[in-house]
Symmetry: C2
Subunit: 320 residues, 2 copies
Amino acid sequence: MDEFELIDRYFARVGAARGDVVLGVGDDAALLRVPEGHELVACTDTLVDGRHFPRGTRGDDVGWRALAVNLSDIAAMGATPAWATLALTLPSVDEEWLEGFVSGFSQLALAHQVALVGGDTTKGPLTVSVQLLGYVPSGTALRRHGARVGDLVYVTGWPGDAAAGLALLEGRLAGQGASRGALEGKFRRPEPRVAFGARLRGVASACIDVSDGLAADLGRLAAASGVGAIIRAAELPLSRALFALAGEARAREFALGGGDDYELLFTVPPSARAALAAATGAAGAPACHCIGEIVAGRAVRVLGERGELPVPRGWDHFAT
Amino acid sequence: MDEFELIDRYFARVGAARGDVVLGVGDDAALLRVPEGHELVACTDTLVDGRHFPRGTRGDDVGWRALAVNLSDIAAMGATPAWATLALTLPSVDEEWLEGFVSGFSQLALAHQVALVGGDTTKGPLTVSVQLLGYVPSGTALRRHGARVGDLVYVTGWPGDAAAGLALLEGRLAGQGASRGALEGKFRRPEPRVAFGARLRGVASACIDVSDGLAADLGRLAAASGVGAIIRAAELPLSRALFALAGEARAREFALGGGDDYELLFTVPPSARAALAAATGAAGAPACHCIGEIVAGRAVRVLGERGELPVPRGWDHFAT
């Protein structure tokens, strides 16, 4: 089977069918219609075998993850995802793995009405790059740089769960039963906050998705905005499963520094609290907690009950 | 140096500055303005070390190539390139190689007014995926599927030169002097036919870029159009350098099956020959030769002076 048969077989009909796809997989490029009055939103994220997921991860989990990490970037802009291209490098054609990959990718693509419109399949060490395109009403996208002193800092969901799930998979954390299953599930199948990101337009002053660790990503948001931030350790949302398996101190470490959460971290001016309440009260909205505030300066500090706690540095993609 | 410093240092200001980039590198996604009345054009191509270029290739040649192969896809649609995202996987941070990479990428990006608007840098085996975005007036894009029986088949430039250049670099072909330099240069620095592709809108009935070999890519165009094609071997343009180093028979093999040309292969109805003459007569237009015609059936056949010649199958990305 050559590359082209492979692409035809697996990728010609992946994800949603969309009326704004003039031409999809199978030509030199795709032709797409961006709605009038909207800006195009473009991002890309790569997964490397053994680095962004454990070696031996099932194809369906890799397919889901490759799209999820990009959907999370689109969510952090408050945008609507629409079209994806896929650059898939494979050591060999393993049909069972490929079918799993397509199934996991498609499942999430259908949930978010994303069409796969192009791709390139090459031979080499397992690497998956997805480029995701979407759109947002002109001038309304969320950015990292709008936080002001006095804004409140919020995070969706239960940060640290996914990092603890990975630690369980890699044997760095022990535990069994429902808690283990819940945490591993959070790592294996991150749920990007796409609908909620769109609801934050006009509410949040700045937004970023948590991929490298809550403290490190808050540091990026603060740096882009030219401000500092305080996280109150006591306000960090810790899931019951994380608390049960890791204990409070280690659970906080996972929550602050773990990465792989794909939650939204955002700031809200005090005047927009009512608007935020409306957004979080909408059907299907994720849990959302105020964990601190924006302050003058440049640093991110974590305040515990007995003083300042060390700030995890976040995941360095080039550390060995 | 962590990933983010690396991105900031090398990628924040790569390529052209464009007024339609609302937000570029440095947030979760880029924000871009597609002109009204246009369709968005999106493609992606991946280069794997040792597979799409020889191991040890200089960074500047890899950077140029990564953009060139994508520009060639945009050219084959008759579209205008605008914005790129880059997914770069590196085994380590080699600043000299990276500086070369950025320099080669930028040189070509500036020549075609492409802005780098986002990217993801990860650690792993050297792999480069570029996603290129552009636009085309709605309804005017060139596609693969419009060829009709009786249309003439044309190719730009001198197919086979790049494949012979690679053969020289890999020691599969011998030769020295200016011819060697010319052929190696055609492999190292392909010149995508972007301006000429745009001139083919309204002229060509179908178009594809030659990346896997002229005969194989003509086969794809023919299959998409539901037709067959004849290539007249005597009409194949063979460069003086290729002829000098490879001799006629092997030169034809390179031209028909070699790949890596990034020339445009297109069909023109006999009624559009005057329009084609206007396009090829424009300043800066590449050489352009009629090499055959579209016929009924499904096959691509190569006709020599003494009958039919074998048709090279094209490069299989998964062959070992």
